[in-house]
């Protein structure tokens, strides 16, 4: 079930409505049923995997908490990590490593696997890892109720593409004791509308330009590829932040607060700043569960740079199984290390300084998106080559990405989202009619144009 579908709009209305009619105890069961129904709309068999994750996480957490011996605790943790990471490996990376080893060795180490990537597996794997590691570190308590763990794994607003929420933040909220809070509901609706607007009317509008350009870059001129890259820059942001807005808004309707996932990333003045603003929940996860355990910045400069590189390389690989993702992650790691070495990650001292650094950062981010979007590493190299050699192409130039990019930057600069959220609190009646009009517009849109998947579902 896609967020950008009439089915989801209907589903959400029914779930929220019934949820508030129930007593807290039944709300939890109802939420679990709703979440599984949400997943069943995509696949029933793959939901068994989530049941497995739930049982495994529940049991491991209990063992870690109940065990008095450190060795048993560590064994439980390592066993858990081995199981979930190897599951993720089998579904997501087995064929990638198989193909890579075939290129290198000339023979296949194991037969090709024809497995469908379970939706959201990267996200719920990371969530459960964070829960177990937090229990191990004593940051959070192991849940006594398996229902809470089940809800934590499959909570439908954040199931498919995050935000990746820590157990200590989400689980207490599954008490489901909040009564109808109209301020939160208005805020949730406003955020869903904002997300839908970004996803359906910006990201999906501009997607065909990026899709065409990256599908066959050898036929597109250097300028066309620059504009196609800008189109993707807009698309990836509006698509994913739109998804996050809908997820956060949907959860808020149920009285559950998910953490912010984006904070005006294209206004960042450095790559370090960008990663504080882009996919914040993943950045935090990588910092807390990878970068710091690797040693963080505690082992001197060289060790810090190595840790940054390792974290971002794995972060790149998390996004997708392909060498272009590895290069993309490597680029991020390299840029973060250079900034750290040259002290360029510090706050700008003047407006001019900010402007120059913002422009450089935006340029670097856009360039790195080429590796993120290209079908493979060769294709990314073709794009870069053609841009750098000002190559000619047979496809007419489409300048719309410039308009969209400028609009996005202005909307961020003026903080229109926050203004919209505040405005809706003061105009509840207008919000109601805007919601109805938007729902109608969305229904016509979904009927007329095929609903496109969210980009981050592939991760």
């Amino acid at each position: 079930m896609l967020f950008n579908s009439t089915l989801f709009l209907g589903f959400l209305v029914v779930v929220v409505y019934v949820y508030y009619l129930l007593t807290p105890h039944y709300r939890r069961w109802f939420l679990l049923l709703a979440s599984y129904s949400f997943y069943w709309a995509w696949s029933v068999p793959y939901s068994i995997l989530m049941v497995g994750y739930t049982l495994l996480a529940y049991k491991t957490a209990r063992i870690i908490e109940d065990s008095t011996q450190q060795r048993n605790r560590t064994t439980a943790l390592i066993t858990f990590l081995a199981i979930v990471i190897s599951t993720l490996f089998v579904f997501k990376y087995a064929n990638f490593f198989l193909d890579s080893s075939y290129s290198l060795l000339g023979f296949r180490l194991w037969p090709q696997l024809n497995l469908l990537l379970p939706l959201g597996i990267s996200f719920y794997t990371f969530s459960t890892i964070s829960y177990i590691v937090d229990v191990y570190k004593g940051v959070t308590k192991a849940q006594k109720s398996i229902l809470d763990v089940a809800l934590y794994v499959i909570f439908f607003p954040s199931l498919l593409a995050g935000p990746i929420v820590r157990a200590e933040v989400l689980m207490p909220q599954f008490a489901c004791e909040s009564s109808v809070d109209w301020i939160a509901i208005r805020s949730g609706i406003a955020q869903i509308l904002w997300g839908m607007l970004k996803k359906v009317y910006v990201a999906d509008s501009i997607a065909p330009i990026a899709n065409e350009v990256f599908a066959s870059p050898e036929n597109v001129s250097g300028l066309g590829l620059v504009l196609g890259t800008l189109a993707y820059t807009v698309q990836v942001y509006c698509d994913f932040s739109g998804y996050s807005d809908i997820a956060i808004g949907s959860a808020r309707l149920l009285g559950i607060e998910l953490p912010k996932n984006f904070e005006k990333p294209y206004l960042a003045y450095s790559i370090t700043d960008f990663w504080r603003r882009w996919h914040i929940s993943l950045s935090n996860w990588l910092r807390d569960y990878l970068y710091i355990p690797l040693g963080g910045n505690r082992g001197g400069n060289l060790r810090t740079y190595a840790n940054l590189m390792m974290t971002m390389l794995l972060g790149g690989l998390w996004h997708g199984a392909g060498w272009n993702w590895v290069v993309w992650g490597g680029l991020q790691g390299a840029m973060l290390s250079i900034e750290r070495a040259t002290k360029l990650s510090s706050k700008p001292t003047s407006k001019m300084n900010y402007l120059i650094r913002w422009l450089i950062t935006l340029f670097l981010i856009c360039t790195s998106w080429i590796f993120f979007r290209a079908a493979d590493l060769n294709s990314a190299v073709v794009v870069l080559q053609r841009i750098l050699t000002f190559a000619d192409g047979r496809i007419p130039i489409d300048y719309r990405p410039l308009f969209y990019m400028a609009t996005i930057l202005l909307v961020e600069w003026w903080d229109l989202k926050q203004k919209w959220m505040s405005w809706t609190q003061n105009h509840p009646n207008l919000l109601k009619w805007i919601t109805c009009a938007m729902a109608l517009a969305l229904m016509f849109t979904f009927a007329g144009a095929s609903s496109s998947n969210f980009l981050y579902f592939q991760f």
């Binding site: 065909p208 870059p217 047979r394 489409d398 849109t445």
Partner: protein
């Protein structure tokens, strides 16, 4: 057993029902007002039914041999001038009545000029040249038409290319018995309403305007009006339009020979797309980026017809002339195409085509 619903559930339910009832009545009132407004100002949005039985609200009556329109006896009456119209959905008359299609209007023009003209509209939606030829050889040649005319629109070129390897001829679906559906029947009861069609068409326009719908061709299924115009798209082979036209030329020569084998001559008419015939914003509702078009389909078809020795007329000018004449004589704006369609001509568009064809064929076929 613990309580399932909270204490306020019943009260909340009642409040919700009350609020929904009030808001729904407001929406209903808005709908009624919009419908009244459209009925007064834009009646063309009513009767917009496209299904097995209706096209643009006009009944689809197909005679037993398979032509849209009246049954024509195989044997010709003395002095009768019989016109055989061939083509695809445009000639079939998508969105218009059978008597408004160009074969019917051409017969009328001949009639006015003293000829006892009758017509057979042998076209069918989605036809290819091979199918047209097969149906001609199997059926229509025995009706001894005096004029055999093929109307070519851009869709015919792309469909002919896409289905170039098809071996069998599609069965005429209108000769199959109608499966009565209660839902379709119920839906057609509301055909008098203008609002649903107004909302549907205008939301589609918005989708094109916003870029949510576009004219890109699928590389594996390159169907669309733009292929014949040399549409350039990064993931489409650059020569696909040229190859489609080459295929068209080959198949057209087969059809020409087929018609010539009966001692007749095939005439060809080109039916332009709306966005190529006119420059206005409203003439390009699907936002076709004209800078991606690299061919003049009318000229290309003219070259092919000339090389095959076929009489040919490009109706682009005729359609333009038709619009300006209507504006001058009747003082109304004539779109010349059915609603939100770039290919299918309306009654006025078909009339313009019929007049062009009469200009091409009339002199040599005047009654003696």
């Amino acid at each position: 057993m613990s309580q399932i619903f909270n204490d306020k559930a019943i009260a909340n339910l009642k409040t919700t029902v009350r609020y929904i009832a009030v808001d729904l009545s407001k929406v209903l009132l808005a709908f009624v007002l919009l419908e009244a407004l459209l009925q007064v100002t834009a009646r063309e949005y009513t009767n917009n039914v496209f299904d097995r039985e209706f096209t643009g609200g006009h009944p689809i009556a197909v005679s037993s041999p398979g032509n849209r329109g009246p049954v024509v006896p195989i044997k010709k009456a003395p002095g009768e001038l019989r016109i055989l119209g061939m083509g695809d959905s445009t000639t079939f008359g998508t969105g218009i009545a059978a008597e408004d299609t160009w074969p019917a209007q051409l017969a009328t023009i001949f009639h006015k000029n003293g000829a006892k003209a009758t017509y057979i509209n042998s076209a069918l939606e989605g036809y290819t040249l091979k199918e047209i030829n097969t149906v001609y050889r199997n059926l229509w040649f025995q009706y001894q038409p005096d004029l055999v005319v093929l109307a070519v629109d851009n869709n015919l070129v792309s469909m002919n290319w896409f289905r170039r390897d098809d071996k069998s001829v599609t069965a005429n679906p209108y000769l199959e018995p109608i499966a009565k559906s209660k839902l379709a029947g119920l839906k057609n009861q509301f055909k008098i309403l203008a609002t649903p069609s107004w909302l549907k068409i205008n939301s589609q326009k918005c989708l094109y305007f916003l870029g949510l719908a576009n004219n890109n061709l699928k590389p594996d299924v390159p169907l669309g009006a733009t292929l014949a115009l040399g549409w350039q798209q990064a993931d489409l082979p650059p020569d696909v339009a040229e190859r489609a036209w080459k295929q068209f030329e080959t198949d057209l020569s087969v059809l020409r020979d087929s018609v010539a084998a009966d001692g007749r001559s095939l005439a060809v008419v080109y039916l332009p797309t709306r966005f190529m015939a006119f420059d206005g914003f409203s003439d390009n509702e699907q936002q076709v980026p004209r800078q991606r078009l690299t061919m003049d389909a009318g000229k290309r078809l003219g070259q092919i017809s000339k090389s095959l020795g076929l009489p040919y007329v490009d109706s682009t000018e005729g359609v333009r002339r038709g619009r300006s004449q209507i504006a001058q004589k009747e003082g109304r704006f004539a779109p010349m195409y059915i609603k939100f369609d770039t290919v299918h001509l309306d009654k006025d568009g078909h009339k313009a085509v019929a007049e062009d064809l009469f200009g091409l064929l009339g002199k040599s076929n005047q009654p003696r």
